[in-house]
């Protein structure tokens, strides 16, 4: 009963309600501003909320988190610059829609689907947290390693031009993620005895450079193109539209919750996996994927918001962060004298239900703020590019600097910006680079744990994979995803499934 009252605390306390609303509103715009990450915002928030009571502090952070995951989609749609990594997949179809003057439709769909996905995530968090966390507990290091490889192999189907370029970009991302001191042996990796390399390369700097600066540089080619005035006639999608995409959103919400619940993975990977799933299962998309398919918006947006609820599962029940933001929130809970982990739900279930209640409220505020003020927001794209480009560059510099208050991060960002420009010019996908950086730690740590547990014996390692049902499924999925992206599979599919190909045509 006490736990239930904790759930309704945030609904009845005006101060807490206002803080969730403020957090969500700020989160939407922070997530939308290129160069400002939710992770950064929440970490800054900790510094001035540690003297607050735990409830207001957590309420504000949850609002920022929920709003920020959604907000990244706005600039992804309007500027082709994902405000957050979780919106990388959204840009692929959202931006082409904006280019057709359908930004309002795209934003409306992403908002409603984000709400839907967020709600699914919260329901799963509330109802199935113990069982899902127990499932995640059964994962062996080799399973996490296979999961990371699976994620990286998805680059092939996301890369567009060529699988080889996608793999090169993914490997390059992993390499960037490994620069610095090895956390297990404190051996320098790619540091060349330079002190500035020992702390590694800031992921935020890489992301801002690759997506912010390189995009701004690429936009210089189109300075004379008049800004498109977005014709926003319909923001709220019709019931028919929502109903049409409900089955897909249910599937991708499930992907979002599961991926979000796996420690070390988050909304970014969930969105990419959901996008890939949508590409595979949608036989007749509204438009081809990459050219403004609504399915390409529905999938990542439901998944990344569903992943928010999912990310709280391991955080609350195991004390393991689901993603970077929940990692920071674990720190915040510690600061407030709480001990996230298996005992938290036993000893302080009210805290768990307070978080669930805050997430529900934040989700509703996200829907309200998402469907209002869009016209004002789209004015951004009507700004002359000659003003917008320097502004994005300046925002990128401030965002990179603000992460660690380090000028080195600004230099990294600039270097990756120039490199990213050339990579995109010559058809190298940039998404896999970021995916590689995110997954590198997961891959490295778990490969080493797995091989050490098998006494450095590759034979035993593979024996472990084939004898464990979970590992075997993941391993076969890796093989299938790789194989399904080769020309051999295309030829085989054409020969085996001529009727289906004809129908699709």
């Amino acid at each position: 009963m006490d736990a239930l009252s904790a759930f309704f605390t945030v609904f009845t306390d005006l101060k807490l309600l206002s803080l969730v609303a403020l957090g969500t509103f700020a989160g939407v715009y922070i997530g939308a501003i290129p160069g400002l990450s939710v992770t950064m915002a929440v970490s800054i928030l900790i510094s001035f909320t540690f003297s607050w009571d735990v409830h207001p502090a957590i309420a504000l952070m949850i609002g920022i988190f929920m709003g920020g995951v959604y907000g990244g989609s706005r600039t992804a749609i309007l500027l082709n610059i994902p405000g957050a990594p979780s919106a990388i997949a959204t840009a692929m179809d959202g931006y082409p829609m904006a280019q057709r003057g359908e930004a309002g439709t795209a934003i409306g769909i992403t908002t409603v689907m984000s709400f839907f996905g967020g709600f699914i995530g919260i329901i799963v968090l509330a109802l199935a947290a113990p069982s899902v966390s127990q499932f995640a507990l059964t994962f062996q290091p080799r399973d996490y390693m296979l999961l990371a490889i699976l994620g990286i192999l998805l680059v092939g189907s996301l890369s567009g031009e060529s699988l080889v370029k996608g793999i090169f970009s993914g490997a390059f991302g992993i390499l960037i993620g490994m620069v610095g001191m090895d956390p297990l042996t404190f051996t320098g990796r790619f540091t060349y005895d330079l002190p500035l390399m020992q702390s590694g390369i800031s992921f935020i700097a890489v992301m801002i450079g690759m997506f912010g600066v390189s995009e701004a540089l690429a936009q210089l080619h189109h300075l004379d193109t008049p800004a498109i005035k977005q014709k926003i006639t319909r923001i709220v999608p019709s019931f028919g539209t929502i109903k049409k995409y409900l089955p897909l959103s249910l599937q991708t919400s499930s992907i979002g919750v599961i991926i979000g619940a796996l420690p070390g993975t988050g909304g970014d990977i969930a969105a990419l996996m959901a996008y890939d799933h949508a590409k595979r299962v949608t036989r007749k998309p509204s438009r081809p994927f990459g050219k403004g398919a609504i399915e390409g918006l529905v999938a990542p947006e439901t998944a990344n918001n569903a992943a928010v609820g999912g990310a709280f599962i391991p955080m609350m029940t195991l004390g393991i962060p689901g993603d970077a933001v929940t990692a920071i929130m674990i720190g915040a809970l510690f600061i407030h004298g709480l001990n996230p982990g298996p005992m938290l739900m036993v000893e302080q279930p009210d805290m768990f239900w307070f978080i669930v209640g805050s997430l529900v409220v934040a989700n509703f505020f996200m829907l309200i703020f998402g469907l209002t003020g869009i016209k004002l927001f789209t004015k951004v794209v009507e700004m002359p590019r000659a003003v917008l480009i320097p502004m994005i560059m300046l925002l990128s510099i401030v965002g990179a600097y603000a992460t660690n208050n380090s000028i080195t991060d600004v230099y990294w960002m600039l270097a990756f910006g120039v490199l990213g420009y050339f990579m995109r010019t010559y058809g190298y996908p940039l998404g896999p680079v970021i995916l590689g950086v995110i997954l590198s730690r997961l891959l490295d740590d778990n490969w080493r744990r797995a091989i050490i547990s098998e006494r450095e014996d590759l034979g035993r390692f593979f024996h472990g994979i084939v004898t464990s049902p979970l590992s075997l499924i993941l391993f076969l999925a890796v093989i299938f995803i790789f194989f399904s992206q080769t020309p051999l599979w295309t030829r085989l599919k054409a020969r085996l499934l001529p009727a289906r190909n004809e129908e699709a045509r």
Partner: protein, 189 residues
Amino acid sequence: MSPTDHDTEALQDEVTDLHEHARDTRRPGEAGFTILLLLASLFLLWSAYDISGFEALSAPGTLPMVTTLIMVITGGLIMLRTIKLPPVSGETFGQNILPMALVIMAVLLVCYGLLLKPLGFLPTSMLFLTISIKLLWRQGWVKTLGVSFLVLVIIYVVFRIIFTVLMPSGIFPEAEMLQFFRNLIGGGA
């Protein structure tokens, strides 16, 4: 207002930049870029070997070696394919890949990075915005300065005041200025 045909064409180019399919031609400078990537990958493979060699499967250098080896293999494949492709007609490196506006902006960004610490956030940003907007927008000085100032004020209020992001103050008496405004507000209260 729907985009004109000209706009649509230009915007389709942008989409192609990001989501293009396998090309059957080589863009200017592409062969050189792939060779550079391959050489960098080879150097990184050597660096990865240098971390711990073949010490153990769980050694800190094992995964870096695998990763860089993948880069060398895929980089080599990309280079071989790219070199075989015929060059695209009607494109030049100076016009389509690295136009003067892009070089100037890149130089301005580097200058910004170099001047940020000694000059401080406000003067450097104002300089950067003014020069870049003037060069790209080609409007009068009053309009350029006005827009630059407005953009800087918005960014300053959001980042420095609301998010309290610390930026280098440099030569500008930023702390004194903020204190002056605080006194002004405090005095009025």
